[in-house]
Structures are given as structure tokens and as C-alpha cells.
């Protein structure tokens, strides 16, 4: 078989794949943006959904600001990581609400906390989107003051702030 034909067929197949991929991504509800946010210095990394739920405004950009909010003592810190991670160590006073168990735990959470309770979510830092997704879910449930501490527990630990 001559190579020209082979290359032609390969090009055709790749072109069909690329075309189909872009069309499906465009119409798919789980489609992502063509360029994501993968620079940690710009905040949490994410592929970015087309209808992006991650609201930059909610983000607490640095650890010191998070600590100030913590020291004021009005905000409830909510840990979005798994229960095991939470039990291994978390910000003192934080409550555990693992993103993966949101549906089963949210009713008990709402019974305990008023919708006006200021909330700060966190997870394992800037490679982790769970705290953003948790924040979005809490907003959807009617909580009206939700922030995301994007440096999460690793950032907290790096400043030698207390952990329990």
C-alpha cells in the first residue's frame, strides 16, 4: 500500500475526530472551554465549564485574609474534602461537608445553620475545585454569604496556623 494513501486516510480520520469532538463539546452539557485556567498563581486550576459556575468574586485570594476572617469568628469554615482527610487534620472549628456526600448531608447541615450564616469553604488548595463546587451548591441552596478559601488546608498549614 502506498504511503500517500495511508496518510490521506489518516488525515481524514483525524479530521473527522477533531470535527466531531468540537461539535459534541459545543453541544454537550459537560463540555469545557477551549482553553482552561491552569496557572496556579491565577487562582484555582480548572478546565472551566462553558457555563462556568466558579465565581471569581467568591475567592479569598490569600491565606492572611482568610485568617483575618477566621479570627473575627463570625464565619463557619466548611471542609469540602473527604471525611478521612478531615479527620486527619482540619482548620479548628471547621465542619466537614464532603462534596461527594453533599446530597446525604445537606439537610442536616441546613437544619443546623441559618441561611445568613457566613460560610468559607476550603479543600486541598489550588489544585482542588471541590471547595468551589461546594460553594456553588450552598449558594444554590440559599446560603447568601459564601466564600472560597482557595489556598485551603495546605496554605493554612504553610503559615503554621493551628490545625486540629
Amino acid at each position: 500500500m502506498d504511503n500517500k494513501k495511508l496518510i490521506k486516510k489518516i488525515t481524514l480520520m483525524l479530521a473527522v475526530s477533531v470535527g466531531l469532538a468540537l461539535i459534541v463539546n459545543y453541544f454537550s452539557p459537560v463540555g469545557i472551554a477551549l482553553i482552561g485556567q491552569w496557572d496556579k498563581s491565577q487562582g484555582v486550576i480548572t478546565a472551566k465549564a462553558k457555563n462556568d459556575v466558579i465565581v471569581g468574586k467568591l475567592e479569598i485570594e490569600d491565606v492572611k485574609t482568610a485568617k483575618q476572617i477566621y479570627d473575627i469568628g463570625k464565619s463557619l469554615f466548611v471542609d469540602a474534602r473527604s471525611r478521612e482527610n478531615y479527620e486527619d487534620g482540619h482548620i479548628p472549628g471547621a465542619v466537614s461537608l464532603p462534596l461527594g456526600q453533599f446530597d446525604e448531608l445537606i439537610n442536616a447541615f441546613i437544619d443546623k445553620h441559618s441561611l445568613d450564616q457566613p460560610i468559607v469553604t476550603y479543600c486541598s488548595g489550588r489544585t482542588c475545585e471541590d471547595s468551589h463546587n461546594l460553594a456553588q451548591l450552598l449558594l444554590d441552596f440559599g446560603f447568601n454569604d459564601v466564600k472560597v478559601f482557595i489556598d485551603g488546608l495546605p496554605g493554612w498549614e504553610a503559615e503554621d496556623y493551628p490545625i486540629e
Partner: protein, 155 residues
């Protein structure tokens, strides 16, 4: 040994089996990625080998190359071209896995979604698996006889 190799390369049943194994594997592999491109993108990021601007494009396009070439192999549409694409992908996977294995790079984000995507499985078994697939792919590429179960003249 040379004779054995020739027999294996010329055996149409081995070719048929190899084509179906590769086809089903690649279709199956594309499925999860197409359903969760954001998770797949994060896994690609985790390898820390790709320019940030290309991560999403890889995550969007690669699964469809896997799907189309996998389907083409099973249906017997341009099987030689399809297997060349698959061998190219396998070679790329082998290089990426080896590079990260050699430099001891591990990425663990501790996120629920990525854990679910099975990222934490170790690189060695994946590497061995991909090398076996590549051997199958080379057999399919080098096979010059009449291929079984191919779609008529298109083959």
C-alpha cells in the same frame, strides 16, 4: 524464531483478535473521558508535561480520536490507517508514562472527582499494558493478508 514471527504476523485470526481487542479497548477508554472532559483535563494537567493552552484541546479531542480509530478497527474501515493512529497514541502514552516514572513525578490533588477518575493507579502496570497493546498494534499494521470481518472494499 524468524519463522515463528512470520507465522504470527501472517495469522489472520491473531490479526482479527488483535484488532478487536484494540478496538474495544480504545472505545471503552474514550467513554469516560467523553462523559467527563473536565476531569480528564485535570489528569492531563497532573502530568505537568503539556502547555497550559493545549490541555483543554487535548481533553476534548483525544477521546474522539480514540473512539473513531477504535470503531474503524472493529468495523474494518481503513484498518491500517486506524491502527497507525492507535500505535501513535500508544507510543505517546508510553513516552509520557515513562518520563513521569523516570523523574518520579506524582500528582495527587486529593480531590474527590479526580480520585474517582482512577488517577491514583500507579504507572508501571499502565506502562506494561500499553506496551502489550503496541505489540498487538504492530501485528495489525504489518499483517498483509486478507483481513477477517472487514467492511468490503473500504478495507
Amino acid at each position: 524464531m524468524n519463522k515463528l514471527l512470520k507465522t504470527v504476523l501472517a495469522n489472520s485470526w491473531i490479526e482479527f483478535a488483535a484488532r478487536w481487542i484494540l478496538g474495544i479497548t480504545f472505545i471503552y477508554a474514550s467513554y469516560d473521558k467523553i462523559l467527563a472532559p473536565a476531569d480528564f483535563a485535570k489528569i492531563i494537567y497532573g502530568y505537568e508535561l503539556f502547555p497550559h493552552d493545549f490541555i483543554n484541546l487535548i481533553a476534548i479531542i483525544l477521546p474522539f480520536i480514540e473512539l473513531i480509530s477504535g470503531l474503524a478497527l472493529i468495523l474494518g474501515i481503513y484498518p491500517r490507517s486506524a491502527v497507525l493512529i492507535i500505535n501513535g497514541m500508544l507510543l505517546a502514552f508510553i513516552i509520557v508514562l515513562s518520563v513521569n516514572l523516570i523523574r518520579g513525578h506524582e500528582f495527587e490533588c486529593g480531590c474527590f472527582s479526580v480520585k474517582k477518575a482512577g488517577y491514583l493507579s500507579s504507572a508501571e502496570p499502565m506502562l506494561i499494558r500499553d506496551i502489550i497493546y503496541l505489540i498487538l498494534g504492530v501485528q495489525v499494521f504489518l499483517f498483509s493478508g486478507v483481513r477477517k470481518g472487514c467492511l468490503g472494499r473500504l478495507s
